[in-house]
């Protein structure tokens, strides 16, 4: 499998580390209901199809990436820098 890093170009799997689901968001408040924390820490969907997930380009530019991968075929349809996703999230929340 190869990932097309937006900073470095296409690179082999050996340069990356998988982190997991990129769509979970930490509860805003430490006093959020226990169920919210359970969802955040433990519960994951297991989709057959496109999955947005975090990868770390540790042996390259050391960027966190959000990769959209089809779990049935490993086809990669999108790779963006996680910092850009976080920025867009923030701007979305602010508007």
């Amino acid at each position: 499998m190869r990932l097309n890093c937006p900073c470095c170009g296409p690179r082999g799997l050996e340069e990356f580390t998988y982190r997991g689901d990129a769509t979970v968001r930490r509860p805003e408040s430490p006093t959020a209901p226990a169920q919210d924390w359970v969802d955040y820490v433990y519960l994951r969907d297991n989709p057959a199809g496109p999955h947005r997930e975090l990868w770390y380009h540790g042996a390259g530019c050391r960027s966190w990436l959000v990769v959209t991968r089809d779990t049935r075929t490993h086809a990669i349809s999108d790779v963006v820098r996680a910092v850009d996703v976080a920025r867009a999230d923030k701007e979305g929340a602010g508007s």
Partner: protein
């Protein structure tokens, strides 16, 4: 009396040659890493442009200014600067401290140089990026692995010559691996023209 500690070379200073490819330790250089604070990349770029008359590269490349200082892309909004001893890079960069992290890297990185007509074929044995001249040319940079060792790889010129910037503690291992790759010779498939 305690025994006096002596500075030692990271790898043998004697160049090794096999199959027309030479491996040698690069000359000592001052090295400083430069990482822009959040939202300060443009300020840093403007300062470096004015102080060194150079545009910091935004893609995996390196550029050299008129004083022979090399500016190597080292990740988003990060660069590694290398210059001849005596340049005093840190002093020249000190105004940057307000908007970037400055770290002396002279003790951290060792340069290994692989040079000769077959250098591309030898480097390609260890490095998982495409080194074909259409994909990787003089001035291009890749942050990648050589074997299992993290390197900043840079093509210095069209000989071709490649520079591997490696953590000093791993320089001996990479030197050994490169030498082993050289002794294995140039693969038949690369012996064109």
């Amino acid at each position: 009396m305690p025994e006096v500690l002596h500075p030692r070379d990271a790898v043998s200073p004697v160049p090794l040659t096999a199959h027309g490819v030479t491996l040698r330790a690069g000359a000592m250089r001052e090295s400083v890493s430069l990482a822009a604070f959040r939202g300060q990349a443009d300020t840093l770029r403007a300062f470096v442009g004015k102080e060194f008359d150079v545009d910091l590269p935004d893609t995996p490349r390196s550029v050299e200014n008129a004083d022979g200082i090399t500016f190597i892309w080292a990740g988003p909004n990060q660069w590694l600067l290398r210059a001849a001893p005596g340049t005093d890079l840190l002093t020249r960069l000190s105004p940057c401290a307000a908007f970037a992290a400055l770290t002396a890297q002279g003790d951290s990185r060792t340069a290994l140089e692989l040079r000769g007509p077959g250098a591309r074929a030898i480097a390609a044995k260890l490095v998982p990026v495409d080194l074909h001249p259409r994909a990787f040319a003089a001035g291009d940079v890749a942050l990648t692995l050589a074997g299992h060792i993290a390197v900043i790889l840079r093509q210095v010129d069209d000989t071709p010559c490649y520079e591997f910037l490696v953590f000093r503690s791993l320089a001996q291992s990479l030197h050994h691996e490169l030498h082993t790759a050289m002794l294995g010779g140039i693969p038949q498939a690369d012996r064109i023209s």
